[in-house]
């Protein structure tokens, strides 16, 4: 099966090409959506086969490389179209194809009747292909194809409703911000390649070869520069401070897109990339610290914004940014396994939440449409009490919310608790650990609060739309609810593969599985970290208990504010209007970026064009031309053809020559 790894990205590519070329003619939604879903499902089957085969191999042999064809060979530079299968990429392809299949299926129902149905599925398949290239890439450049490819598909899908200006703006913003990150990725790649090559004659961008040569890399120094550049790439793709502002705007795209690209898969690419190159990152302690700090800061910063948004998808978007911050926190404290684990559980519950919100929006849209109401179907202030009309959506949404809030027994609890514990107990950052843990814990409290605020505003209380609309509210069809149920199930039980050792009920399969991938990195870490202080089990139990308490506090506050005494939020905003405005307007970061970067660039461009190009350069050129013309105009008079002119000039010449001899 491993030999056929190239089939995994190929299937969705075929689907994309097929629908892209013929979809418009076919018109039959069942055929278009069916083929797209079938293609990604085929990839899922191949991925399952590969996972099975890997499991059957001894742990140290679970690395397989496949060169499909030579791509760019020039001098000592060599990049093949090559795939790398190891335990890490195996997890990723399972998540991408598995969640991807469900979201494709869901989309058939959700996108029903859309004008660009074929276009949508073509893009979605193309995205799946790019994402699979990204995670399977055997060298940095194949990863980079995927890296930019997902950016492209994200652009296309955010701009799916291209007739809306906001959608076009959001698409462009996403692509450009990603490009800023890509710039960092490229420089990081160049630095690593050049340094290893010119110092040790190892000219490679191949992951396994770099891993083999990683002992040649110094601690800090050039590695810090390279990894910081790579991390810039990660902040762009994974929406971390300072490049996160595109993600909330990306909600302009259709909701299944938000679930697949902007929650479950693409945005986790940065985390995956750090995991893939853990053996390089761990050699740069300063970078690790930056990653941990940026992750923690993003986690809390985005969580605060999430508390004040009224658009159901925007809350989830900020929640995603915040959860990605948790993953980066994990990577930054050297808990690579925990980071990838959270990546996986987050893919389950966040995909479920997004698809659930899509189901809600779908229902709201139809209800409002039937009643000829122009209220916003995504605004939670128009919702309320939906649990009665939409029981399946409600249940799956609720369990996913519990999972993200970190209630024991649900998947999110295991992964998030592991991250918080590692933030506290890791041997890397010394005195900083307590702050990292504290920030993470407060962010977790905010998470529980804003998620339950969302649930209470949407599913509880009284329905706030008109009675006429209300009659049209009904549960979504099976094609939508089946993916919800599968993801809801995974949101609950998906975490049991990686149960903390402390609880000791099940072995931590997940950690064992990834051990060989991160072994090299852990080895490097051992050489410089102080043999970490041994923390007692009692402390670990205590912190675990504390994180549960924190989650419960968050939920309780949400309950008080939005169920028990709903007048408090209004009074709060009335008391602190400036604070509310700042949070509601996302701390004015977009405006700040406009002011700092976009407007100066435009002004500079205009100045260079009208000031420099036209005035200075052309001025000089035209000026020279004028001088030449003027001179020739004067010289022209000398050759007038009149004898007396020539006589005059001869006489003048004689005068000059005589004068010269007299006065010299």
């Amino acid at each position: 099966m491993l030999e056929y790894v190239w089939l995994i990205p190929l299937f969705p590519l075929l689907g994309a090409v097929f629908n892209g070329l013929l979809g418009k003619k076919i018109k039959n939604e069942a055929v278009i959506g069916g083929i797209a879903t079938l293609m990604i499902f085929c990839s899922f089957l191949v991925s399952c086969g590969i996972l099975m085969q890997l499991i059957g191999l001894p742990a140290e042999e679970r690395v397989f490389e496949k060169v499909v064809f030579p791509w760019i060979h020039s001098g000592n530079f060599k990049a093949d179209m090559a795939f790398l299968v190891d335990p890490l990429s195996a997890i990723m392809i399972m998540v991408v194809t598995g969640v991807g299949s469900l979201i494709h299926l869901y989309s058939i129902g959700y996108m029903h009747g859309e004008e660009g149905f074929y276009r949508y599925f073509s893009y979605l398949n193309l995205f799946a292909m790019s994402m699979l290239l990204l995670v399977l890439g055997g060298n940095m450049l194949v990863m980079f194809i995927g890296w930019e490819g997902v950016g492209l598909c994200s652009y296309l899908l955010i701009g799916y409703y291209f007739h809306k200006k906001s959608a076009g703006d959001a698409a462009k913003k996403a692509f450009v911000m990603n490009r800023v990150g890509d710039f960092g990725f490229l420089i990081g790649l160049f630095t690593l390649y050049w340094w290893l090559g010119s110092n040790h004659n190892v000219w490679t961008i191949n992951f396994t070869e770099i891993k083999a040569a990683s002992s040649l890399l110094p601690y800090g120094g050039v590695v810090t520069i390279a990894t910081l550049c790579f991390f810039v790439g990660a902040t762009g793709k994974s929406a971390q401070i300072p490049l996160y502002t595109w993600l909330p705007d990306a909600m302009e795209g259709p909701t299944p897109v938000s679930a697949l690209i902007h929650a479950a898969t693409m945005v986790t690419a940065g985390v995956y990339m750090i995991g893939r190159m853990s053996f390089v990152f761990v050699k740069a302690p300063d970078t690790m610290m930056v990653i941990a700090i940026v992750g923690a800061a993003t986690a809390i910063f985005a969580a605060t914004i999430g508390t004040a948004q009224n658009d159901i998808k925007r809350v989830l978007a900020y929640s995603t940014v915040s959860q990605l911050g948790f993953m980066f926190l994990a990577m930054g404290v050297g808990a690579f396994t925990a980071g990838v684990f959270h990546l996986m559980t987050h893919a389950f519950f966040k995909a479920c939440l997004f698809l659930g919100s899509g189901s809600v929006i779908h229902a709201m849209h139809h209800a409002l449409h039937h009643a000829h109401s122009h209220d916003d179907p995504q605004d939670m202030r128009n919702m309320g009490g939906l649990r009665k009309a939409m029981p399946i959506t409600f249940i799956t949404f609720l369990v996913s919310t519990i999972a993200i809030a970190g209630i024991p027994g649900f998947s999110g609890f295991f992964s998030k608790d592991e991250i918080l514990w590692q933030a506290f107990a890791n041997p890397f950052h010394g005195g900083l650990n307590i702050f990292l843990w504290g920030t993470g814990a407060i962010a977790a409290c905010f998470t529980a609060f804003y998620m339950f605020r969302l649930v209470f505003m949407t599913f509880f209380g009284e329905c706030r739309i008109t009675a006429k609309s209300k009659d049209h509210l009904h549960e979504s069809p099976l094609v939508i609810t089946i993916p919800l149920m599968v993801l809801g199930f995974l949101a609950v039980f998906g975490g049991y593969v990686g149960m903390p050792k402390l609880l000791g009920m099940l072995p931590n399969y997940f950690e064992h599985w990834l051990e060989p991938v991160f072994a090299t990195a852990q080895g490097y870490a051992q050489t410089y970290v102080h043999a970490g202080a041994h923390h007692s089990h009692a402390l670990e139990w205590g912190l675990m208990g504390l994180s549960v308490v924190i989650a419960v506090i968050g939920i309780a506050i949400a309950y008080i504010l939005y169920i028990a005494s709903p007048s408090i939020p209004a009074r709060f905003t009335a008391t602190f209007p400036a604070l509310h405005r700042a949070v509601y307007n996302k701390w004015y970061i977009d405006e700040l970026y406009d002011f700092l970067f976009i407007n100066p660039c435009k002004a500079l461009g205009s100045f260079l064009w009208k000031g420099f190009d036209v005035l200075v350069i052309d001025g000089i050129v035209d000026g020279v031309a004028k001088v030449v013309m003027g001179l020739s105009g004067m010289l022209k008079n000398l050759q007038s053809g009149y004898v007396h002119n020539y006589a005059l000039s001869m006489a003048l010449g004689v005068v000059v020559i005589i004068a010269f001899y007299i006065f010299r």
Partner: protein, 518 residues
């Protein structure tokens, strides 16, 4: 056959010109047909060059016959190609039929003369790429200038005279300097013939090299165009008819960069090295400057023209990295730019023919009205941005990694930020033209691309993907020749420091060019 194919290819368009002379003035359809058929025939004649090309560093398909012998002056008709010129020749023969096909409905006046100009232009361009005799090169170089001048000046837009004169004066200024340096070089070499390989083996003292290099470099810099001598380009592009812009961007600009690889660097290596910081700086300024200026353009065509300046800045940076990746990247980027920017000018032509405006603000929401056009436009846009999987990426990446490996590391870092800016200006333009509401009533009746227009674009779109996904044949065929250029540079740098060293660089047989007797 092997030694005549280049000449046959180069002068086939002249046969077309001859036939055109005998066609009545008003039979526009026949004139177009003849021109197109001629260009297509030229393309097919050029194909055996690819299949017959042996991957090594030597000049192939060489033909050398005495031409003008005036006393001590000996000019040979000496032609041949190597890995560097091979693809540029193919690019030329490939673009020409497309360019001619694009004028089918765009030019209605003086069709015959227009077609004659285009075919003469093709002769000039092909001749310049295959010349291995400096004087022959100079003649073809000038031959290109005249038809282009007429194309802009007669069939151009509102400011056509100003644009044509500016184009002419800029290029002429460079050409004159080059001619002076060329003649001086000839006398330095002690007379004889103008065989290029003979000049390669010369060992000139640094002072002479410096001023000769500056003369050549200035002429080529104008053609590239490098900042700050680029201002003729936006104007010439905007005023030229579509086919003119396509050829100008796709092929004529490559004369400049080709000139550096073929002449300025190998002929004057130590001077070239001395001026590397200056040229690299100008290239990088070009990338950033042109991108910023492109961003604020109101006219689509001008925007594309400025993007050309930025792309050619990348090419120059790669060439001046003077290592395999850099030069290969630069060469590839020349081809890529020919394909992508050529396609962009065609696209601009399509909407201009429909709406007779190129102002971005006159458009919006065209995606809805013209879906096929939108798809092709988007593919080309992303190729221009350099998205991996398209041709633009491979060249740009090799240029940057090559420059990063060389001494131009920091230049590479600055130029890399060009990848952000290119996304900004291209996508912003694309959004304003194609996305949004279709609110202008004049745009609501625009027809989508017709069969001819699709046929024009399909080969370009196919190449965009082929060169992006499988660039190996392109790189492999040019690699040995690039190695030779790099070696020439490096060896002569040593020679230049010690002027007394033997005039013959090792490995280069001066008296008998190796491939002549094939």
């Amino acid at each position: 056959m092997n030694d005549t194919i280049l000449s046959l290819m180069t002068f086939t368009p002249l046969i077309g010109v001859l036939i055109l002379f005998f066609i009545p003035k008003d039979s526009h359809a026949i004139q177009r047909g003849v021109a197109f058929a001629t260009a297509l025939a030229t393309f097919f004649i050029s194909l055996p060059l690819v299949t017959g090309f042996v991957t090594n560093a030597e000049y192939q398909f060489v033909k050398s016959v005495p031409w003008i012998a005036a006393g001590p002056f000996q000019m040979n008709y000496h032609v041949g190609i190597d890995g560097i010129s091979l693809w540029l020749v193919i690019l030329t023969t490939f673009i020409m039929p497309i360019a001619i096909l694009s004028t089918w409905t765009a030019v209605e006046e003086k069709v015959k003369e227009y077609m004659i100009c285009l075919l003469l232009l093709e002769v000039g361009m092909l001749g310049a790429f295959i010349s291995l005799d400096l004087f022959l090169f100079y003649i073809f170089w000038e031959v290109m200038l005249i038809p282009m001048y007429f194309i802009i000046g007669i069939w151009g837009g509102k400011q056509k005279i100003y644009a044509a004169v500016k184009f002419f004066i800029y290029t002429m200024a460079g050409s004159v300097l080059m001619l002076v340096a060329l003649i001086a070089l000839y006398f330095k070499a002690g007379g004889g013939d103008f065989n290029l390989t003979r000049f390669y083996a010369l060992s000139l003292d640094p002072a002479t090299q410096t001023w000769m290099f500056l003369a050549f470099a200035f002429a080529f810099a104008i053609k590239v165009p490098l900042f700050p001598v680029h201002t003729w380009l936006p104007l010439a592009h905007t005023e030229a008819p579509t086919a003119g812009s396509v050829i100008l961007a796709a092929i004529l600009l490559k004369m400049g960069t080709y000139g550096y690889v073929r002449f300025a660097i190998p002929l004057f290596p130590s001077a070239s090295e001395q001026f590397t910081p200056l040229l690299a700086t100008l290239s990088v300024i070009g990338v950033i400057y042109a991108s910023l200026v492109a961003m604020v353009q109101e006219d689509v065509k001008k925007l594309v023209a400025y993007s050309s300046v930025a792309h050619l800045g990348f090419v120059m940076l790669g060439i001046y990295a003077l290592n395999q990746q850099g030069v290969a990247g630069g060469m590839l980027q020349m081809l890529n730019h020919g394909v992508s920017t050529g396609a962009l000018f065609l696209i601009v032509g399509f909407i201009y023919e429909r709406r007779h405006t190129r102002l971005i603000s006159d458009f919006g929401g065209l995606s809805k009205q013209m879906p096929i056009f939108a798809t092709i436009f988007m593919i080309v846009t992303f190729s221009s941005i350099g998205l991996p999987g398209t041709n633009g990426f491979v060249g740009e990446f090799l240029v940057l990694i090559g420059a990063f490996e060389s001494n131009l590391r920091w230049y590479a870092v600055v130029a890399s930020s060009g990848v952000i800016l290119s996304a900004v200006y291209m996508l912003w333009m694309f959004q304003r033209v194609m996305f949004g509401e279709l609110d202008n009533p004049k745009n609501k009746t625009l027809p989508d691309l017709n069969a001819r227009e699709i046929a024009i674009m399909l080969p370009l779109v196919a190449l965009i993907f082929v060169m992006g996904i499988y660039p190996t044949p392109f790189i492999d065929k040019m690699a040995p020749a690039i190695d030779r250029v790099i070696q020439q540079g490096k060896m002569k740098q040593v020679a230049a420091v010690v002027p007394q060293m033997p005039m013959v660089a090792p490995g280069v047989d001066v008296t008998v060019p190796p491939a002549v007797h094939k």
